[in-house]
């Protein structure tokens, strides 16, 4: 077993429970923005992709890493953008714009 596995497992289990408790409280009204936002947060794999692509190594890892950077970063940019756009649309009555 590689070092760090057990501590990663601790983190995984705790984060899973924390995620469950926090997300359970999100109103069903906002389930679509929730999915867009978690996609954007999940795109943090871009940091791993940057390291894979930019550290010394084979050309293959540079290419695969760069594909991963592009894919993950498009999720990050697009995910935050659309979440904010959607949330701006949710208005209460009596507060008319335009």
């Amino acid at each position: 077993m590689p070092e760090g596995f057990i501590s990663n497992l601790y983190v995984f289990v705790l984060a899973g429970f924390l995620g469950f408790e926090v997300i359970r409280r999100v109103s069903p009204l906002l389930h679509t923005p929730l999915m867009a936002l978690t996609n954007a947060l999940d795109a943090i794999v871009v940091v791993a992709a940057i390291i894979i692509a930019a550290r010394p190594g084979s050309e293959l890892s540079e290419i695969l890493g760069a594909i991963a950077v592009a894919a993950a970063f498009s999720n990050m940019v697009g995910g935050f953008l659309i979440t904010d756009r959607m949330l701006r649309m949710f208005k209460l009555s009596g507060r008319k714009k335009q």
Partner: protein, 464 residues
């Protein structure tokens, strides 16, 4: 700065990012704080990305910078799509997330061989299998939602056996690799077989089941990211993946309950899915229909109206006309609200976003429980583009394929109006006894045109 200082700084910035991500999801719990949540999520992500560039191990930046630019060029249009297209956009972003994670896993394998332990190989195999199948599965889902692929379920004999054999072959390749990591052809074989399995997993699933499938793929993508965190020993990925995974999982469970399907049924995609089309009713039954004028007169004279919108409303692009109806009736003092079934639309919460885009205030949207408790005091239940979620057979007819599914009980309202093109059964091919009730008025026509005509009647003939 020496390397150890940089390492500490990176770790610290990742911890800050994670804390911000959790706050971000917490603030999403209410519309009042939700936008703040997006902002803090963006700050957390920016901190993590910028700090990563200080890693002294990094030496070649050309392709990284080009890739980041490509990410922006693809990401902005994907962030600007129309709300009706959000489900396919979401499926595309699941595909991208899975692609990124799978690429990193594949690259790690080729970098580590031949010095790779059985344990590491197990982690990498699992990560690459789930990442690859989520990638193609999400592409198929996006294709179906965009209607490039047929929306109806594609089923053939022996499907389960074929699909499970393919998955078995992928697992077998992984086992070979665990005991002999350098077996030259098994790694690419495992990737290709997993890609194929993703296609087989989602192809049989029909459009009406898409909310569950999207949530499930969301969960798979999160799991892939968390597994990647294990492979790379990166806690920021473990946490982000666990949050994304649990979010998808919760949504999948909610969708499941709302369709009364068992969890195993969903876990294994469409396997064993019921596709019973109810036998056509033999006897002639009486249907009452009404014109826009009659409908307008009844709506204008009522005190309370509950609209039940379904995906058909979005297909007909009727939501903006519905908003005009909302405005004119509200002005007349009619209390109009919208009852949202959890699986209305093509993904969790889709209908809420569509109505919000049409400028309908969110405090006018009510959930199924509230709607059902208020239905007996409601003058008119107006159904636009929804079918199965209002079908009383789900409560009364044990032989119905949707028996047991929670529904919005429109049949309890004093009058029921259904806007529909014809009497043909809905998506799941199930007959709806609601249409033949005495208090039901069928409004035959295109949703957009019909609502528009009602609005015209109400504004023109209203004497204002």
């Amino acid at each position: 700065m020496n390397q150890i200082t940089v390492q500490y700084l990176t770790d610290f910035s990742y911890i800050v990012a994670i804390a911000f991500f959790i706050l971000s999801l917490k603030w999403l719990s209410s519309p009042a704080t939700a936008r703040r949540g997006v902002l803090i999520g963006e700050i957390g992500a920016a901190i993590a990305v910028v700090t990563t560039f200080f890693n002294p191990e990094l030496v070649r930046f050309k392709w990284v910078l080009i890739a980041l630019l490509i990410g922006v060029i693809i990401g902005i249009p994907l962030g600007m799509v129309h709300m009706t297209a959000v489900p396919q956009r979401t499926a595309m972003s699941h595909a991208f997330g899975a692609l990124a994670a799978a690429m990193i896993g594949i690259s790690e394998y080729y970098m580590r061989i031949p010095h790779i332990t059985k344990f590491e190989m197990t982690e990498i195999s699992l990560e690459v299998i789930i990442g690859s199948l989520s990638f193609t599965g999400s592409l198929i889902a996006a294709g179906k939602l965009q209607e490039w692929l047929p929306q109806r379920p594609i089923v053939y004999k022996g499907q389960n056996i074929v699909s499970l054999s393919v998955l078995g072959a992928a697992v077998l390749s992984a086992l070979v690799l665990i005991f002999n990591p350098v077996a030259p052809l098994f790694f690419p074989a495992m990737v290709i077989i997993s890609l194929l399995f993703g296609v087989l997993l989602v192809t049989p699933i029909g459009g009406a089941d898409m909310p569950t499938v999207i949530a499930l793929l969301n969960s798979y993508v999160g799991l892939t990211a968390a597994l990647l965190g294990f492979v790379l020993n990166s806690k920021v990925l473990v946490v982000a993946g666990a949050l994304d995974g649990s979010s998808g999982f919760i949504l999948a469970v909610i969708m499941c309950k709302a369709m009364n399907r068992s969890f195993t049924n969903v876990m294994f995609g469409a396997f064993g899915q019921l596709q019973v089309s109810a036998a056509g009713a033999g006897e002639e039954r009486v249907v009452h229909s009404a014109t826009p004028e009659e409908a307008a007169a009844i709506l204008g004279a009522s005190n309370s109206v509950i609209v039940v919108p379904g995906y058909g409303m979005a297909v007909a692009q009727a939501q903006h006309k519905v908003r005009e109806l909302f405005d004119v009736l509200t002005k007349k003092g009619v209390e109009l609200r919208f009852a949202i079934h959890p699986v209305a639309g093509r993904m969790p919460g889709h209908m809420n976003v569509l109505l919000a885009e049409a400028d309908i205030p969110y405090d006018r949207l009510i959930d199924m429980e509230t709607a059902n408790s208020e239905m007996p005091q409601t003058d008119v239940a107006l159904i636009i583009g929804a079918n199965d979620v209002t079908n009383p057979a789900a409560k009364t007819d044990q032989g119905s394929p949707i028996y047991g599914m929670p529904i919005i009980e429109v049949d309890k309202a004093r009058t029921v109006m259904v806007i529909k093109r014809s009497l043909s059964p809905g998506f799941a091919g199930i007959d709806n006894p609601l249409y033949y009730m005495d208090k039901t008025l069928m409004l035959f026509g295109d949703a957009k045109a019909f609502v528009s005509n009602i609005v015209k009647e109400l504004t023109g003939g209203g004497g204002e």
